[in-house]
């Protein structure tokens, strides 16, 4: 039921916000593109690497915080001949200890599993992992809609909209990041997975 | 050799008794007068025994006047020359205090016209000759002109000799002579009063020559051209001369008004061009001189000169095409542009004050001749000239230490 209401609400809100979103596009798109390009210019990192870095950072941080992934801002800035990495992500809320513990436990389990798997040389468990993750995400999102008060940095409405709208995408993202993580283990598939990642990005 | 002898302060006698024909005479006079301090003199010419017709004498007189001097009288043993001189109101015989009033009278009638004749520029003259139409000469002189080809060759030899003898030579305009070669000489007016001829000094004295019709006609035309254009012009062998003595005389005075001085470039801030404040600008060590640009090589170009392109040449530059703003044309001699001149132009860049700039449309950002640098006035806001079917050719040259621009007035037909 909650899901249905949330979706409906999103649709209605997005309908009204559509014009505003389009208007802000030209400027925001320019800013975002520019930031990305400049980051690349300043660091000589390719967009793919940058994105991977971004994803990994999000993944890492989202263990402890509930983040607005879409508004993540990663930037390099020059200051007196030194370069600083500026990362700003609106924090929706800090996770409580239980949640964090839960995730960490899960991770440990996964690690253990992976180790076991690698020991047994079987490499087919990715899909299983994915499905598990998906389930997790869903539960998280439910939490989102219920309680988004505390540490919001940016305008509340927009944020919640984005979050809910982008549910599906987030799932995708997670998938990818999982992929990426597992890439570390399996270097063989890396290239193909990168391609996959790009195509997904384009669709967005 | 002719020598200048100072006579009574401002009066000068030039000995030309060893000259064999009128061309030589003209050259010698020019070379003498061109030397320093020879201007603004009253001249007595010692012509020896050479036979001169009235028209020829008139040409010499005009020549002397273009050199800022006055022909006061002549001394000659030839009867023909004597009568010609008397016809012109010149003093004949050796100059004396008694005769002076006579030539002062002569001057009175001509002084006001002198300004006009000085103002005539060669381009204008040339244009005028063309506009007057083709010259027509007597039918029987046609053959004579052909006959006199030999004479012409001789004349040119003489000319060369004479040039060798003197460093200062009359200026010449290569393009003018080119154009002349194409000009079919045709006479429309024969019975022109000599005074009219003199007033206008525009080459029409040729007609008179033809009328009197001697074997020397080619020589005479040559010398007449020399004198009128202040140049050593050449008559091409395929020059076609015809005479039609029945046509009505032209009103030359009217024709002359087709040409005007469009601009005298002075320091004062008026007019289209203004002299640059040359203090501290003109390069040091440029030696001013007057020399014949016709002796120089000519660079012939057919292209559009664009911004940033420079043509620099030791000699004359002839460009068929436009010179856009931002381009530079620098020549030690003349610069002639068959097109719109919009860039920077420098004629006589090594200090030749006799160099000239000509173009179908003169619109340079800077116009420099020898040591005079002028810029387009700030109030003039025409960076680009519209290309039209009609242009009025213009010529800029130095006169009295100013740049003067001449152009043809459009005739209202």
């Amino acid at each position: 039921m909650k899901d249905i209401f949330a979706n409906l609400y999103n649709k209605v809100v997005s309908f009204f916000n559509k014009t505003d979103a389009e208007q802000s596009n030209a400027k925001d798109v320019a800013c975002n593109r520019l930031k990305l390009v400049l980051m690349q210019d300043r660091t000589n990192l390719t967009p793919a690497i940058m994105d991977r870095m971004r994803k990994e950072l999000i993944e890492l941080l989202s263990k402890y915080l509930e983040l607005d992934r879409e508004l993540l801002d990663l930037n390099f800035e020059h200051e007196d001949n030194q370069m600083a990495l500026m990362l700003s992500i609106p924090v929706i809320r800090a996770k409580n200890e239980d949640e964090i513990q839960e995730i960490l436990d899960k991770e440990d389990e996964e690690k253990r599993k992976l180790e076991e798997l690698s020991k047994s040389d079987s490499e087919e468990d990715d899909s299983e992992d994915d499905s598990e993750e998906k389930d997790d995400d869903d539960s998280k999102d439910e939490d989102d809609s219920e309680e988004d008060e505390e540490d919001d940095d940016s305008e509340e409405e927009d944020d919640s909209d984005y979050n809910d709208e982008d549910d599906s995408e987030e799932e995708d993202d997670d998938d990818e990041s999982d992929d990426v993580e597992s890439d570390d283990v399996e270097d063989i598939d890396e290239n193909t997975k990168k391609e996959k990642f790009f195509s997904k990005k384009d669709k967005k | 050799m002719g020598k200048i002898m100072n006579y009574n302060g401002e009066k000068t006698v030039i000995d030309l008794s060893d000259a064999n024909n009128i061309s030589e005479l003209g050259l010698k006079i020019t070379s003498q007068l061109d030397s320093e301090g020879a201007s603004n003199k009253e001249l007595f010419l010692n012509l020896g025994d050479i036979d001169l017709k009235q028209s020829q004498l008139l040409s010499i007189k005009a020549l002397v006047e273009t050199m800022q001097s006055k022909l006061a009288g002549i001394n000659t043993t030839s009867e023909m020359t004597q009568s010609a001189a008397i016809g012109l109101g010149l003093v004949v015989g050796s100059p004396s205090a008694d005769t002076r009033p006579t030539f002062e009278e002569t001057f009175k009638t001509e002084v006001h016209e002198d300004n006009d004749s000085e103002n005539i520029n060669s381009f204008a003259q040339l244009k005028k000759q063309n506009s007057i139409g083709d010259f027509v000469t007597d039918a029987n002189s046609l053959s004579e002109v052909e006959e006199t080809e030999e004479d012409k060759v001789q004349t040119q030899e003489f000319l060369k000799e004479a040039e060798d003898e003197s460093d200062d030579i009359v200026d010449e305009v290569a393009q003018e002579s080119e154009l002349e070669e194409e000009t079919e000489i045709e006479e429309e007016a024969i019975n022109i009063e000599t005074s009219d001829l003199f007033k206008n000094n525009d080459g029409l004295n040729i007609y008179d020559d033809i009328e009197t019709n001697t074997t020397n006609s080619s020589d005479e035309i040559q010398s007449a051209l020399d004198i009128t254009f202040g140049a050593r012009s050449e008559i091409d062998s395929n020059l076609k001369t015809q005479i039609n003595s029945n046509t009505e005389p032209i009103k030359i005075q009217e024709k002359f008004e087709d040409y005007e001085v469009t601009e005298t470039i002075e320091k004062a801030d008026e007019g289209k061009y203004v002299l640059l404040d040359t203090e501290g600008i003109t390069p040091e060590g440029i030696e001013l001189m007057k020399s014949n640009t016709s002796d120089l090589d000519t660079l012939y170009l057919t292209q559009t000169l664009r911004s940033g392109q420079t043509v620099s040449y030791e000699g004359n530059i002839f460009l068929i095409g436009d010179a856009h703003p931002g381009s530079e044309i620098i020549a030690t001699g003349d610069v002639t542009i068959w097109g719109i001149l919009g860039g920077i132009v420098h004629a006589g860049s090594k200090g030749n004050t006799d160099a000239k700039v000509r173009a179908l449309k003169l619109n340079p950002i800077q116009l420099r001749i020898a040591n005079l640098y002028s810029r387009r006035n700030d109030t003039v806001n025409v960076p680009f000239v519209q290309k039209t079917n009609e242009f009025t050719p213009e010529e800029a040259r130095i006169e009295n230490e100013q740049i003067v621009i001449y152009k043809t007035l459009r005739r209202e037909d």
């Binding site: 400027k27 800013c31 400049l38 210019d41 | 940033g308 420079t310 800077q366 700030d378």
Partner: protein, 268 residues
């Protein structure tokens, strides 16, 4: 007297370096400073046109370098302001006609007798840029609120930072269109400043008067009414150390606009 040498640069072409040079130079001179403008865009000079001095140029920087004339001879005095003079670039040569050392020497020489030496830098980051920057101690990076210009400005800032001689650099945002910014169609001043993380020395609004002033060969600072002229005058004052707030670029709103804004604001 040791004058300040300021290079005006941008990386990208067409953002208004030359216009900025002409206007800041004129404004500084109007404030009583002795100013020399150096056009280092050899082969594509334009500063002379903007100042309306194109008909006065006899010698150029190349002539100075090649010792065909003295430096003093090559300085063309402005029509109106005797405090302002121009050292023009040669139109018929290219950037390699002058070396960085030579330009530095010229700047050092001019420094002695002038308060400000403004070096108009050519577009690009090649020899021309290196030359222009060589003698300068300060830089003004001109950019517009467009991606390409901002990106190039970022590159230039990076290069300037690597130069030891450049003690400070400031950003000048040119051709700002308040209306477009208001509608979120254009990056705002803050956006650009944030992205480039560079101090701002001025914001110049887009002004059609610039076009006419260029055509007339008279910098827009001479137009007391023009907003862009006012903006440039403010920049000049800031260069001289005065603390002047940024110009309010917003054109006065009509009642209708205000009403409209009220509604749209309420909605968001």
């Amino acid at each position: 007297m040791a004058g300040r040498v300021i290079v005006i640069t941008s990386g990208k072409g067409g953002v208004g370096k030359t216009t900025t040079s002409a206007n800041i130079g004129t404004a500084l001179a109007k404030l009583g400073n002795k100013v020399v403008l150096i056009d280092t865009d050899i082969g594509l000079r334009n500063l002379d046109l903007l100042l309306g001095l194109e008909n006065r140029i006899v010698y150029t920087i190349v002539d100075v370098v090649e010792e065909r004339c003295k430096l003093k001879q090559a300085l063309v005095k402005d029509k109106k302001n005797p405090n302002l003079s121009l050292l023009a670039a040669a139109q018929t040569r290219d950037k390699t006609s002058v070396t960085s050392e030579q330009l530095k020497d010229i700047c050092d020489e001019l420094k002695k007798k002038n308060d400000f030496i403004l070096v108009d830098c050519p577009a690009g980051i090649e020899q021309g840029f290196q030359n222009a920057v060589a003698g300068a101690n300060e830089a003004i990076v001109v950019t517009t609120p467009e991606m390409s210009a901002v990106r190039d400005a970022d590159r230039i800032i990076g290069l300037l930072e690597a130069k030891e001689e450049i003690e400070s650099y400031k950003l000048l945002l040119n051709r700002v269109r308040p209306k477009l910014i208001e509608q979120n169609d254009m990056m705002s001043v803050d956006d650009v400043v944030e992205i480039l993380s560079c101090d701002l020395i001025g914001v110049i609004p887009e002004d059609t008067g610039i076009i006419t002033s260029t055509n007339k060969g008279e910098p827009i600072v001479n137009d007391e009414k023009a907003l862009a002229g006012q903006a440039y005058r403010n920049v000049a004052k800031r260069i001289m150390g005065e603390d002047i707030p940024l110009l309010d670029l917003n054109v006065k709103e009509s009642f209708f606009d205000k009403l409209k804004n009220l509604f749209t604001k309420g909605k968001v």
